[in-house]
């Protein structure tokens, strides 16, 4: 990190402590070095957008935060990721004793392709939470309603909760996936290009949703759409070839970036790393 970046992160540190601290984090897939000595701090109740060209390691990064990369063959990593929130406090999540399933209830993830299970809308919302506690019928109804309202789906589907989820439009399905993740009550939500399969209207609805959710959740949002980042981000991280090129507030990076590459990418979507 260069001098200026250190200063800005110190500034933020004094205000809030970071909810995720990534230190010297390296990832290899089948021997290929994807993330190189990655260092980052994510702040609470903010939308941090991770941007960069394809193949820069953005997905790999956030998938390492909820350890979903563990299931992929050929994955190897080194370094630590420390969570400072909730049950896993101050501990490296790659530490041996970590309960990965517990981790994933605390760090939710929304994937690029909406993935609804072949069940009803009602059952989809409850899919994750039903394993965590015994729910009475009343509690189930309440959870479904609460989370569908949180993603602005309630009015659209309240009269057909027991229809199969696959009958929803793609945009609605993605919102359903978000509701499903919210039901588990995580504190951090990771989103891996969640609107890239969606039409502009659905994308916009989800962006608005993010702006509302950030009051309660810490949101890390990977996107290759610069305009989207401009609309919703509080903090930006520009990645290329597995490393952070520059990070800072949205205002700073768009108007006065420190690095030439950042400016190039943000104005022309061109990165020569």
């Amino acid at each position: 990190m260069n001098k200026k970046t250190v200063e800005s992160s110190e500034l933020v540190d004094r205000i809030e402590s970071p909810v995720i601290e990534i230190g010297k984090f390296n990832v290899w897939f089948n021997g290929i070095h994807i993330l190189r000595d990655f260092n980052m701090r994510f702040r609470e109740n903010q939308i941090t957008c991770i941007i960069g060209p394809s193949g820069s390691g953005k997905s790999t990064l956030i998938r390492s935060i909820n350890r979903i990369n563990d299931d992929v063959e050929g994955f190897a990593c080194q370094g630590d990721i420390i969570l400072n929130n909730g049950h896993i406090n101050g501990q490296d999540i790659y530490h041996n004793g970590t309960d990965v399933n517990l981790l994933r209830t605390q760090v939710g993830m929304v994937f690029q392709k909406p993935c609804v299970f072949p069940k009803s809308i009602y059952e989809n919302v409850l899919f994750g939470i039903k394993y965590l506690k015994r729910l009475s019928k009343q509690e189930k109804q309440q959870i479904v309603e609460e989370n569908l309202k949180a993603v602005s789906l309630w009015e659209e589907v309240s009269n057909r909760l027991h229809d199969r989820a696959i009958t929803l439009s793609i945009g609605q399905q993605q919102r359903l996936c978000i509701a499903r993740s919210l039901a588990v009550k995580p504190s951090i939500i990771l989103l891996d290009e969640p609107t890239s399969s969606l039409d502009p209207i659905s994308s916009y609805a989800i962006e608005n949703l993010m702006l509302q959710l950030k009051k309660q959740y810490t949101i890390i949002f990977v996107t290759h759409n610069i305009f989207q980042a401009k609309r919703i981000a509080d903090y930006l991280v520009f990645m290329c070839e597995g490393q952070v090129i520059e990070e800072g507030t949205k205002e700073k990076l768009f108007s006065n970036p420190d690095k030439q590459q950042t400016g190039d990418y943000l104005s022309n979507e061109y990165c020569e790393c």
Partner: protein, 294 residues
């Protein structure tokens, strides 16, 4: 939001143990499956190897197979398979070409698929019975190895059609279009573009079919084979003796240890032949895939 007010740690422990239990069951069951199947192969190889020597392979069988070797059984099986291949190959290839090049009507496509591939579902003993009634009695051919070859051919036609058809279907449209653009008529396109691919696919199908047919007992036991005194068939209409039917005969004398020993030997030889065909099919399939991706 802290989770501790929602979760009870015991719930997690419970799920953890159920998870371990489930995975343990999967392991256990798989080990049981694996051991059973390994047992099978070991038994065949071990017992069979004891019976096989050069003498066994090259001499004729005596005393209803309780003594001697299986030379003519090997010849008989090879004869049947060769005949079946020669008969089924052109018919199956032609069918596959017709289905992919000439048959455009959706209903007819599905109908032909049902009729051709339906043959695959018919139990092998029914083929034997059909051969008995239609050829041996109705057409009065008597018990002959040619009839056996015909029946086996009918059995493997669907397999060859499927393989050839899939292979033809994988030809990128651009090849056909280029040929047509050069002014070739339909049959010339077939000859130059479709046929080579179809033949490779058909060969794969033939090897797969042969692997299956060579081990079949029921289709040939009434109509093509006899158990004793048979050597080389003098003409097309005489019986032969074959490996699977020989095993059947020997298995029915299981108390005679020599007969049993010979049965194992015959089984091992049969499996080796099946293996050779299957592996060849695998090679042609791989080679075919690399060609069509050029």
């Amino acid at each position: 939001m802290l989770l501790s007010d929602i979760l009870k740690l015991e719930d997690f422990m419970n799920r953890k143990w159920i998870n371990k239990f489930f995975l343990l069951i999967c392991w256990f069951v798989t080990v049981v499956s694996a051991l059973t199947l390994i047992f099978l192969l070991t038994v065949i190889v071990f017992n069979g190897a004891q019976a096989i020597n050069l003498d066994f392979l090259l001499t004729r069988s005596r005393d209803f197979g309780a003594e001697g070797g299986i030379f003519y059984q090997i010849i008989g099986s090879i004869l049947l398979i060769t005949g079946a291949s020669l008969i089924s190959f052109p018919i199956a290839l032609g069918t596959a070409i017709f289905k992919s090049e000439y048959l455009k009507n959706n209903f007819l496509q599905r109908l032909s698929s049902i009729l051709v591939y339906g043959l695959n579902g018919i139990p092998s003993i029914i083929f034997g019975i059909f051969g008995l009634i239609f050829f041996v009695h109705f057409l009065e051919t008597g018990i002959s190895w040619l009839v056996g070859a015909v029946i086996l051919a009918i059995m493997i036609i669907p397999t060859i059609v499927l393989a050839a058809y899939q292979s033809i279907n994988s030809i990128p449209k651009i090849y056909r279009d280029s040929a047509l653009a050069l002014g070739l008529n339909r049959w010339q396109v077939i000859l130059k573009v479709v046929l080579p691919q179809g033949i490779s696919g058909a060969i794969t199908g033939l090897l797969i079919g042969a692997a299956r047919a060579i081990g079949e007992t029921a289709p040939i036991m009434f109509i093509a084979t006899a158990f004793s005194g048979v050597e080389m068939p003098g003409s097309l209409f005489e019986p032969v003796t074959a490996l699977p039917t020989h095993i059947l005969a020997l298995a029915q004398h299981a108390t005679d240890s020599q007969a049993l020993k010979n049965a194992w030997g015959t089984s091992l030889v049969l499996i080796i032949l099946v293996f050779v065909f299957s592996v060849s099919a695998l090679f042609t399939r791989i080679k075919l895939r690399s060609v069509s991706q050029r």
